[in-house]
């Protein structure tokens, strides 16, 4: 009788394992704060894309963007591109922080930041510039 009871227990406990594993499978990225950051970055991208392509703006090794060659931007636009870069970096930092917070682990911010750093570069289009581990600019 006891062993049957025990077996029932074991089965019941084992049935829970996939549920727990599933719960841990995804990060929460559907909060209002994350969505609005995403939308702001998406609309800014239409203005930044040509500067990535020209090489004026590059992806830094720390998951941000930088004006790597201002000479490639017409003088009249230079200030505007500078503000775009600053705004983009502000949103990126906020995004990394918000994802960590949305998942109840603010201490994950740095690791999320470095995960993004790798993925931005990985997904960058050919011809865009990024910083390698040593900090040198490389054309993809």
């Amino acid at each position: 009788m006891h062993s049957q009871n025990l077996r029932l227990w074991v089965v019941a406990m084992l049935l829970w394992l996939p549920v727990l594993a599933f719960a841990a499978a995804d990060l929460e990225i559907n909060t209002p704060a994350i969505s609005s950051l995403k939308m702001a970055m998406q609309s800014r991208h239409s203005q930044l894309a040509s500067h990535y392509a020209s090489g004026a703006v590059g992806l830094t090794r720390d998951g941000l963007v930088a004006l790597r060659d201002a000479a490639l931007v017409p003088l009249a636009q230079r200030q505007a591109v500078g503000s775009l870069v600053a705004a983009e970096n502000q949103d990126r930092k906020a995004l990394y922080r918000e994802i960590a917070r949305a998942n109840g682990h603010p201490e994950w911010e740095e690791e999320i930041h470095s995960t993004f750093a790798q993925r931005w570069v990985q997904k960058a289009a050919p011809g865009w510039w990024y910083q390698n581990h040593g900090g040198a600019w490389v054309k993809k």
Partner: protein, 61 residues
């Protein structure tokens, strides 16, 4: 017998709590997946290459 079931219960409880504990460590694969999803949206990479991607299993994996 009762003792044995107690031991089994404790073992199971600790193994289940170990699964939960894993959660505290940084979930690198999940973070990568989340990053890819966000980057695809921000850079609008979903329909790259003209034709719609062949049934991309976006929600899976």
């Amino acid at each position: 017998m009762k003792k044995l079931s107690m031991v089994a219960a404790v073992l199971l409880a600790s193994s289940v709590s170990a699964c939960v504990t894993i959660n505290i460590y940084f979930p690198a694969a999940a973070a990568e997946k989340a990053a890819d999803k966000i980057i695809d949206e921000v850079w609008q990479l979903q329909n790259q290459g003209g034709a719609p991607a062949p049934a991309k299993p976006n929600e899976q994996k």
